[in-house]
Assembly symmetry: C2
Homo-oligomer: 163 residues x 2
């Protein structure tokens, strides 16, 4: 990092600022919406959604963490809390004795059934209702590009000179 800093242009700064504002406001908004209506933060709700879409409503912890882009530590705490609520239960993984399966309970499923419509409405109102179809497409493409670039790959894959 010995070269002169490559500062953002005015336009880039405006975009970056808008990105920070929009993402922060939206996450706060959804956190409050779900805390009020479902009694849990947005990310916990997302865990239940993941489980509900998995075969037999169950996933290995690591799998669930990867899908949700959170650390295993955070997931451990989250699942412990959801288990306390009776919305998730754990089982030992039969094929790998280190493994744990997180399983969506019927009670958990019912919470989703009850709260999903309101949540979708909130997402729609904040995002899709305000964007033109073209903008929604653009956003999808942009977010895919960014997500791909940030994906934690095998460290080695990024360091070919070490192979």
């Amino acid at each position: 990092m010995t070269s002169a800093p490559n500062w953002l242009s005015d336009e880039e700064q405006r975009t970056w600022r808008a990105y920070l504002h929009a993402t922060r406001l939206l996450e706060d908004h959804l956190d409050r919406q779900l805390q009020r209506d479902a009694g849990m933060p947005h990310i916990y709700y997302g865990l239940l959604v993941q489980l509900s879409q998995a075969p037999r409503r169950r996933l290995r912890m690591t799998e669930l963490a990867k899908n949700s882009k959170i650390t295993r530590s955070r997931l451990s705490h989250a699942v412990a809390r959801l288990e306390n609520n009776g919305w998730v239960k754990r089982e030992d993984c039969p094929s790998d004795k280190r493994g744990q399966l997180a399983i969506l309970t019927d009670a958990g499923y019912e919470v989703l059934e009850r709260t999903a419509p309101g949540h979708v409405a909130a997402v729609r109102q904040a995002m899709f209702d305000r964007l033109t179809p073209e903008q929604a497409d653009q956003l999808g493409e942009i977010m895919r590009v960014m997500a791909q670039g940030l994906q934690p790959t095998d460290a080695k894959a990024d360091l070919p000179w070490l192979r």
Copy 2:
């Protein structure tokens, strides 16, 4: 909410999922980058940036909270921590005895000088280097629309029938 839920289309779901992934990965990435290089989370760093750009490097707490899209409570805690680090100091507001000014110290300014280039590089690498100029423009416009829709306005302004 008595009508049938207006579920997201497949395409919308893909976009929403990509949005969640990208924003989560990026925020985590920047948090780690700044925790490592500057010893504070991204949002704290953003507070110092705000202050550095304000006249006389100072802002009223409420102003700073609004600019940064965080609650005043959160800001109180954050500034207390930054004050402990010696990067910010507080002063009473002369014109309003309830008010507090948060002021960037020289030490705080130096932290920014030292760490800003690396942070900008991280932002660039994660976002602007991966997007075409057209996409960057689109993203800016999209984020402005979303932020505007989520702006906590006067409650009354949203409820004209109550005026």
